[in-house]
């Protein structure tokens, strides 16, 4: 094959060597990447699927990979054709290392032949990154919106406590042992305010609402961060307390809660007093932990406590029989 010098001017990544490997001409972009080279064997180490790295052999393979000896991170790929005089012409390219090479040598689009798709590749690379940035920002926005919506869905807007949904979620977490306390046992306390209706009737809903917020604040103050407090209805609250299986300790805690709520509250310039009744269900008293069952038992215990007078606490016997409430250990 004969060499057409005119064709070489179209190829900024060409390399023309004689039979001995002396460099006769190298494209302008190739020189920017590997520097001014005089000898093929000194400049390059053929890598990849070649049996031996002799020049005639390189002209036989489909694809040639040349590693720069001066800069081993730089691998060029291309193809070679043998010439009648024993020389070789390589048409080389940057392959997949394109982006990295352009960055390292600060190449511009003038360095590539217009027929080369290098710039389109770079354009795509850049566009792809820009789109990924946009998408991940959009994702973050949606994620934030989702969290906000979730928080709202699980929160009582008046007191900021959990609502029934939030409570159920916390209960499920405890039941499955993914909750804050891993001990596995927990207590469910149903609480209901005494004399709240009178307060609401005599001083108006605004004061009633302020009292509910005051109760929420006092409950927060008396409980731990791992406890769950929920407002499940008008003046009904539920507490989930992990890791307290002992009825005596629970009764003491319950009495403290009641005392705390009975403390006078200054609302809208006047002092009001209310009280609370508590019904307790303890997870260790059940063979099978069931949301509906424990809630119903805590409610029944609460009803029992109310029957015995205001400001009282009653603990359900659980599987050992609801009929015996108020008897046995715990009780009212």
């Amino acid at each position: 094959m004969k060499l057409d010098r005119a064709a070489l001017t179209l190829m900024p990544m060409h390399l023309h060597v004689d039979a001995a490997g002396r460099v006769l001409s190298a494209g302008s972009t190739l020189r920017r990447i590997v520097g001014d080279i005089a000898d093929f064997h000194a400049a390059f180490e053929p890598v990849g699927p070649v049996a031996d790295a002799s020049l005639p052999q390189l002209a036989q393979v489909e694809r040639v990979f040349l590693r720069s000896r001066a800069d081993p991170a730089q691998v060029l790929r291309g193809r070679a054709v043998g010439l009648d005089d024993g020389g070789l012409v390589f048409s080389l390219g940057l392959g997949i290392g394109l982006v990295e090479t352009i960055r390292r040598h600060d190449l511009t689009d003038r360095e590539f032949a217009p027929s080369d798709l290098a710039m389109e590749f770079l354009f795509l690379h850049e566009a792809n990154n820009a789109m990924m940035d946009e998408l991940s920002q959009a994702n973050l926005r949606l994620e934030k919106a989702r969290r906000r919506a979730e928080a709202q869905a699980f929160t009582d807007p008046l007191t900021g406590l959990n609502n029934r949904r939030g409570l159920h979620l916390a209960f499920e977490a405890l039941r499955q042992g993914t909750g804050p306390a891993t001990a596995g046992q927990f207590a469910l306390i149903a609480m209901d305010l005494d004399r709240f209706k009178e307060l609401n009737d005599s001083r108006g809903h605004a004061v009633g609402d302020a009292m509910l917020c005051e109760v929420a604040a006092r409950l927060r103050a008396i409980t731990r961060s791992c406890d769950t407090i929920a407002r499940t209805g008008g003046d009904e609250f539920v507490l989930l307390l992990p890791g307290i299986p002992d009825p005596t300790a629970l009764e003491q805690l319950g009495r403290r809660i009641i005392r705390k709520i009975e403390a006078p509250a200054r609302l809208d310039g006047a002092v009001s007093r209310i009280s609370a009744s508590l019904g307790v269900a303890i997870s260790s008293r059940y063979l099978r932990i069931d949301w509906g069952r424990m809630q119903a038992d805590a409610d029944a215990a609460l009803y029992q406590a109310k029957r015995t007078g205001r400001g009282n606490i009653c603990i359900s016997l659980g599987d050992r029989g609801d009929a015996d409430e108020g008897q046995g250990d715990g009780g009212c």
Partner: protein, 188 residues
Amino acid sequence: MHGLVTRSIEHFARQTHGEAVWAAAARAAGVDPRGFELMGNQDDSTARRLLHEIAALVGCSPPELSEDIGAWVAQRSAIRRLLRFAGSDFAAFVTTLGELRGRARLVLRDLELPAISVAPAPRGWRITSDCDAVWLHALAGVLHAMADDYGVLAVIEIRERSILVDVPLVDFNEGRPFSISDPTVGAA
């Protein structure tokens, strides 16, 4: 209309004319004032209504507004970089505008930009497209911004259905620096 286009209108309104203008225009156009998501598509009339409402609020004509939007979009650093990939000087940029549609499709297959053809004219080019006038004005805005970016003094005007680009001074100033590989070069 691709979500990118309506989102560009939204972001332009919010950043250049303020949240109040955006909120008022969105309400008047029957669009959620919280804004568009990136990948949601809207029908073309939504974008048109928005353009009209914003234009009315800021006291300009819809064509003027879409020219402003075109220039604003071309100056967003990511878009500006992608546009600069088209060529190393303003002449290369303009003469390859015919590829813009293909480039856009390469990135987002459902982003439909109008077909553009470029012909030489004395001291510049004549750019024609059978697209809507709104697009043509937006493209004129892009050309304004990119002429500044390349540091070229160009007179750009719309006559009938084409844009005339007249370049009395090729090397007007340095333009904004640009590097293919380094996004921080010339970044705002």
